[in-house]
């Protein structure tokens, strides 16, 4: 074991702010991605996707 006490752990040798900001934002963004993906999949399942995705039309129908 590396740490004498929990407060030592959180302190990270004086660099707690840096370490936990790094890990914290990583964890937060990962969780955010997971939540957003689950929401997106749920919406898509229910057939009410917010993205309007138009399938390809016949040639001449697009281009500007």
């Amino acid at each position: 074991m590396n740490w004498g006490s929990w407060s030592e752990f959180w302190n990270m040798g004086g660099h707690g702010g840096y370490v936990w900001s790094a890990y914290g934002v990583t964890a937060a963004l990962v969780v955010l991605e997971v939540l957003l993906l689950r929401a997106r999949l749920g919406r898509a399942r229910r057939g009410s996707s917010s993205r309007r995705v138009r399938p390809a039309r016949a040639p001449g129908g697009q281009g500007g």
Binding site: N2, M12, Y18, R45, R46, V53
Partner: protein, 254 residues
């Protein structure tokens, strides 16, 4: 077209090029990868914080390495995989390949961003500045721009198949460029530093540190696969919205 139904003959390579097949397979795979990510992540963090010793020069703050390095590797790796699927999509004209590429991009961009963020937070206590334009960080920043360019181009084109193909070409051009960019940025950096190249962000790397780093890298890898597959599944449902099998799914309320 062989796309819409699995081939009956022996060669099943393109079976999962059919969206419903992919959807089902990925649906079973994602939880496995998710669980692996959690287990490996837990193990890696334990190794990183409770087994790996203090570093002689950097003290405790070097432990940021255990997220910084995996994120950086994933950012690069995902771009290559993305380019691979883009190439598959262009060569075989399979929609599923392009969907996989699109599913990977945001996760790759996230990894690139995290690499930069954690790198900055590591750099400040360890080397004095949040950002110092070193070769690796600058290359990662450019990589982030390449990811965002891919996503921007795809969303700028209304016709989704044209978007797939155009972004695919961009991804291929990017993947050819990435080694060149990396090399030239390294050259640029040593040029302007004058003194000897400072290689190690992690100086002498002790075994427990290496172990923790590798385990965390695998954890990130498993996570990225799960995230990309989930996104691909969502894209499949969005695009195939009007087809029978998707309607049936919505009806099930599953």
């Amino acid at each position: 077209m062989a796309e819409s139904s699995p081939p009956r003959t022996g060669f099943h390579l393109f079976r999962y090029a059919a969206p419903p097949e992919f959807f089902r397979l990925a649906g079973r795979a994602v939880p496995c990868f998710g669980v692996l990510a959690l287990l490996l992540g837990g193990a890696g963090l334990y190794l990183g914080f409770f087994v790996a010793p203090v570093d002689a020069q950097q003290g405790q703050v070097y432990r940021i390495m255990f997220v910084h390095v995996p994120a950086a590797w994933m950012a690069m790796f995902i771009y290559v995989v993305m380019a691979f699927w883009a190439a598959m999509g262009l060569v075989f004209n399979t929609r599923m390949s392009a969907i996989l590429a699109s599913g990977l991009a945001p996760t790759g961009a996230l990894m690139a961003f995290l690499s930069l963020w954690t790198g900055a937070l590591w750099g400040r206590p360890a080397w004095g500045t949040y950002w110092d334009w070193d070769a690796r960080m600058t290359s990662t920043l450019i990589l982030l721009f390449l990811y965002m360019g891919f996503m921007a181009l795809h969303s700028a084109i209304d016709d989704v198949r044209r978007a797939d193909r155009a972004a695919g070409v961009l991804a291929l051009v990017g993947v050819v460029n990435v080694p060149i960019i990396y090399f030239s940025v390294q050259w640029w950096n040593t040029l302007h530093q004058g003194s000897s190249i400072t290689l190690g962000k992690a100086p002498s790397i002790a075994t427990p540190m290496l172990a923790a780093m590798l385990v965390m890298t695998f954890a990130f890898w498993m996570y990225c696969i799960a995230a990309a597959l989930t996104r691909a599944r969502a894209i499949v449902l969005e695009r195939e919205r009007d087809s029978d099998w998707v309607r049936a799914l919505a009806g099930e309320g599953a």
